[in-house]
């Protein structure tokens, strides 16, 4: 797991840490392990970039867990941006049974809601402004 920078630590370097997490690293993880890793990073003020995104079920659980962790004056949630789904989606029977996003790689950017602002997004580019709070 990437070393986290504690935003409250006065010895921490002045900057924003970006964790780029490969699909290979996520492959062996259970849903809650992935969510914990993402939210631990975001709580520390990091921007987390997932090479292969999350499944719809994992996204749903990420929202649910995020809601449980929001607290006044400390953490007000996440910003999450993902490339739009490909037009050439798997529409085979197996694909439908497994969920329409099975095997579909999609880069996802997640960060603290009070620090990240999306400026532009299209099918090939996510442009985000990250502020140091």
């Amino acid at each position: 797991m990437p070393k986290a920078t504690n935003a409250d630590d006065s010895d921490a370097p002045d900057g924003v840490q970006i964790d780029l997490i490969s699909g290979e690293r996520m492959d062996g993880m259970a849903t809650m392990e992935k969510i914990r890793m993402i939210l631990d990073g975001v709580h520390d003020g990091n921007i987390v970039i997932l090479e292969e995104g999350l499944t719809p079920d994992e996204e749903s659980r990420l929202i649910e867990v995020t809601m449980a962790e929001i607290s006044p004056d400390e953490f007000n949630g996440i910003e999450i941006e993902t490339y739009p789904k490909s037009e050439t989606r798997d529409s085979s029977l197996l694909g439908r049974i497994m969920g329409s996003d099975a095997g579909e790689a999609k880069l996802t950017v997640i960060g603290p809601a009070n620090q990240i602002e999306t400026l532009h997004k299209d099918e090939t580019l996510i442009s985000a402004l990250v502020s140091r709070n």
Binding site: T55, P56, E59, S60, M67, I70, P72, I78, K85, S100
Partner: protein
């Protein structure tokens, strides 16, 4: 989750639906905050039962708990469709109590944001476990291509739930139903104004067709 478990769950869900056809369908009303979900839920409930579902307000997160109106019988073309309407809090990935401090004091704003977060978490849980179909309500005067909308529609699709998109607030001059149709062309979009009661016949025709 392994291939076998996924397959078993998928078959189990399909079987459950087959054998519960006579039960009222639980239709979740989902969408972002302030899209008009509660106004629509109240319109449907009042039209067919005479009672409202909950309070409406311009302040985001007025609905902080999922509320259910059971056994709403909708009669269309000689057939009766019975549904349970589940009005849910607006789904979001962030809740900041300071958004509410213009309308109320800090203590009330914190309480409201805490209730809102619990409500959103509950709504997500219900979506995974407890609804048979979804009415997805969007404000047609707003840009529909947001991460929350795209993500929620993706989650609904992955669960293979029937979904109708309602383009609400067509009474506003900034409204663009086409923008919503273009954003989600894979789903039926029905224009309406829940506040003014505009186009409700088409709304009920589609509810009966999709969820009957």
């Amino acid at each position: 989750m392994g291939l076998f478990t996924e397959l078993k769950d998928s078959i189990s869900r399909a079987t459950d639906r087959l054998f519960s056809e006579q039960e009222p369908k639980r239709i979740g009303i989902y969408g972002p905050p302030n899209a008009g979900k509660t106004t629509l839920a109240n319109r449907i409930a009042r039209d067919w039962t005479g009672d409202a579902v909950g309070a409406e307000s311009h302040v985001p997160h007025e609905t902080r708990r999922a509320r259910r109106k059971e056994d709403v019988e909708i009669e269309r073309n000689g057939k009766t469709v019975t549904i349970d309407i589940v009005d849910t809090p607006g789904v979001t990935t962030k809740v900041d109590y300071e958004e509410f401090t213009d309308e109320m004091d800090k203590e009330d704003a914190i309480r409201r944001s805490r209730e809102a977060t619990e409500g959103v978490a509950e709504a997500m849980h219900w979506l995974r476990e407890d609804v048979d179909g979804v009415i997805y309500v969007l404000d047609s005067a707003e840009d529909p291509i947001t991460q929350v909308n795209t993500m929620l529609i993706g989650i609904i699709e992955s669960r293979e739930l029937p979904v109708l998109i309602f383009a609400n607030k067509i009474d506003l001059k900034e409204s663009s139903v086409k923008r919503i149709e273009d954003a989600f062309p894979q789903h039926k979009t029905v224009p309406l104004s829940a506040k003014e009661g505009e186009n409700m016949d088409e709304v009920y025709d589609n509810i009966a067709e999709y969820f009957g």
